[in-house]
Symmetry: C2
Subunit: 117 residues, 2 copies
DNA sequence: TGGAAATACATAAATATCTTATGTATATTT
DNA sequence: AAATATACATAAGATATTTATGTATTTCCA
């Protein structure tokens, strides 16, 4: 059975915040582990966010005022739900917009016709 | 007069090798400084490759057998032209292909409909 | 004609981001 | 009962890039 390979970590670098902000914008609130699973599921395993990368990023976004948290107990186990602050919504929109522009630029750059220029 | 802003360096991260390999595939041979200027020109300043990032990358691609060099003298000043090796052509195609897939995945991930899932 | 800007290379220290490894603990499945 | 999944967290190491610095030649223009 064929397993679709992950994208190189080099490419994924730099997109983590954009992914997280966008997911929270769409879903309202999510907890860390849920984010890792959702991204894996939505990308069919092609993008896998490690917890070692995600948790520090969530903490940093929170400290920066983009996210706020709310704890929930499932039995004895804690979940930390994250959601966008007002400022976080602005940042999310900016990031997504910037990424869309970046993709267009890269598409143009990589679709160059031979011998052109 | 409006100056279109650069993309955040976070986003550009990880795409440098892909950009360089693709440009060399299209142009045949280029020297370092020429690459920085060409990328700036083609992207209207939205992507600017710094020499501090480019030269180490070119050296590393050369050491890895993806690129080979040829010196040319313009008066007393040297230019180091880089071109793809046979292996470099394979790697270039792989990288470009991978990036195209990555863009599709990201597009899907960021175009999520509200409340879906 | 002389100084600024552009061309052309290079490397190193500092910074940022991510991977890999490790740790703790609870809940579920087999 | 043991293995796996859930759920958090942090730290050491790896990697890639920015920023700073250095050298030298050539072109532009005032």
């Amino acid at each position: 059975m064929y397993i679709c390979p992950m994208y190189s970590s080099e490419l994924i670098k730099g997109t983590l915040k954009t992914i997280v902000l966008n997911l929270l914008k769409e879903k309202g609130k999510m907890y860390g582990y849920e984010i890792t699973q959702k991204v894996k599921e939505l990308t069919e395993g092609k993008i896998q966010i490690t917890e070692g990368a995600l948790y520090p990023t969530l903490h940093s976004l929170e400290q920066n005022g983009e996210l706020e948290t709310e704890k929930e107990y499932i039995g004895k186990r804690v979940r930390k739900y994250y959601k966008l602050t007002k400022q976080g919504h602005v940042t999310a929109a900016e990031r997504i917009n910037e990424f869309a522009g970046f993709m267009n630029t890269m598409k143009f750059l990589l679709d160059l016709e031979p011998k052109m220029g």
